[in-house]
Symmetry: C2
Subunit: 341 residues, 2 copies
């Protein structure tokens, strides 16, 4: 199939110059007479020559590829982030290579290995699980890494202030008068992030004088597939008269799944229970959903994240790791209300 592509030598032959001159022309280097340039360009055109990026990157000892490792591309917050990162990378002459890990640490390690074999210039990790070893290994390898949307002290990182994250949800629920709260999460949420958010939840519960009655773990896919098993745990919680009335979710997708599950069980939101999400995905703004949530400034996260990474790649930064903490913002819509009765 793949007919032999013309190389720089073919172009050189056709235009009667040496290959270095051709190289000079296609790289837009100086020191090429106008007439030669024209002839070379003509030959390029006639032959349909296209530079071989592999060869170029091999000899230059640097690539223009940036790896992006993401837990779940299906979560709108991440697909949005990936899209923004690609735009920023492109604007600086880089191409991205996206790897989905589905939250599995082994898959994460494998995908990172693949990126490294391709000698990516740097890696942006959204929701990263591997724990210290991964980061350390990358550091040893001298690969630029930026972690986006979760806190990681050992690397450059831009994230929403995790300590404030869930605290804002809890405070909002407490101010509405809710006294018994639950934390809602999903198996897809990476361990590190989950722990941080849960701790933030517990801390603020204590401070606000609320009791934390439960941790609910929801299999989002199963809930959406109308699997009855997936809502059983929640069902028991809702039956109890001393059960929680306020639910703080680890992210918007979980929050939406919770609303779905609760309402299918006959507990309407916000009349019977209140729910607040985390992330600020666009769909939460739909009138039919109207999710109260703690929004992350994802445009800024993407922009700053890519800036940090590129600075590191280009050696503009040699300092130790830098953390950028952004402010989350409460967006009150219609899934929260004072508790009834």
């Amino acid at each position: 199939m793949t007919r032999q592509r013309p190389t720089i030598v073919d172009v050189a032959g056709r235009s009667g110059v040496s290959k270095s001159t051709v190289s000079n022309v296609i790289r837009g280097a100086a020191n090429v007479s106008d007439t030669t340039r024209q002839r070379v360009l003509a030959a390029v055109d006639e032959l349909g020559y296209r530079p071989n990026g592999l060869a170029r990157q091999l000899v230059q000892q640097r690539t223009s590829t940036i790896g992006v490792v993401v837990g779940d591309l299906t979560n709108p917050i991440y697909s949005q982030l990936v899209k923004l990162l690609e735009q920023h990378a492109l604007a600086s002459g880089y191409t991205t290579m996206v790897s989905n890990t589905d939250g599995h640490p082994e898959r994460e390690a494998a995908r990172i290995e693949a990126l490294l074999e391709r000698r990516v210039a740097g890696i942006a990790m959204l929701q990263f699980s591997g724990g210290r070893s991964v980061i350390d290994e990358l550091h040893d390898d001298g690969v630029a890494v930026t972690v986006i949307s979760c806190l990681e002290e050992r690397a450059d990182c831009v994230t929403v202030d995790e300590s404030k994250g869930l605290a804002i949800s809890v405070r909002h629920l407490a101010e509405l008068g809710h006294e018994r709260l639950a934390y809602v999460t999903s198996p897809l949420i990476e361990e590190h992030t989950n722990r941080a958010r849960h701790e933030s939840f517990l801390r603020e519960c204590k401070r606000a004088g609320c009791s934390e009655t439960a941790v609910v773990t929801l299999d989002v896919e199963a809930v959406l597939a109308h699997d009855a098993d997936a809502t059983r745990e929640l069902g028991r919680l809702l039956e109890s008269s001393r059960g929680p009335t306020g639910f703080a979710a680890a992210n918007d997708i979980v929050a939406i799944a919770l609303i779905e599950a609760a309402e299918r069980l006959g507990a309407s939101v916000p009349e019977r229970i209140s729910v607040v999400g985390f992330d600020g995905i666009t769909l939460g703004g739909l009138t039919r959903i109207a999710l109260t949530t703690v929004a992350q400034p994802i445009e800024r996260m993407a922009e700053l994240g890519m800036t940090l990474l590129l600075d590191r790649i280009d050696g503009r930064t040699t300092s130790t790791s830098r953390q950028v903490l952004l402010e989350p913002e409460l967006v009150v819509r219609a899934t929260t209300a004072p508790p009834q009765g």
Copy 2:
């Protein structure tokens, strides 16, 4: 930063063998004694050697990278598809490189060019806009291409039967008793696909004896951002007593935006108007949305699409282009009902 990485030569030196032997070991070739293998492996470990994929791919004249070109990664149907494609590619030893085009033909061309310079083994195009020239050029270059989720005769392609697509929506609306129908689309939907779906809409309207009163173009982002301008056109349509009561959308996201816009304008769904989507995104299954839609079998699309592409890459297929047509399936939920009064 990037400290000089060890090469195959370093490993050879350290283990006291030639570099071809090292090469044999890491490629798992036969003809290596067990003792030598151990020594080489030990050296690999001590040095932290990692093969350079660029060099390997350059000399082998083939890469294990597959390009994926997508219009809007933010649309769940595509992020899902991309995720599935990545899984299938991975299972066959390939890595994917995703490019988002936001539907711009120029950006599409640029991204394809970048993929070709990286000498990707093949390209999977989801929602492709470039028209004939792009496909032809790729064909001339001898690059394997598979188009997924929209019809393209000049290339391998797997898609839902476009001619049936919107027809199913229209028939459903007609059977409920709707007589005046509208087609709803968005600027983000690629021209080709849009035309096919619109034609399918018109054809079936005629057959079912419905009148097509309008084409509504909705800027989804603007609607979700609660921009009043974005709903003006729809507002006029809904005011008229002879306006459409049944809306067939070009995809689910548009359908959801339409519901949002209509209900904000006071026209509730499905009491005042009925809406049917296209794609079958998971979120449509939420009780609060309950979108009636024409679902695509995306698992099969991803699987077949990747199979077609890999067959072509490996030269198992030399025939002319093959089209696979899959059956769309109507999923009736709660955004459609008989017209009132």
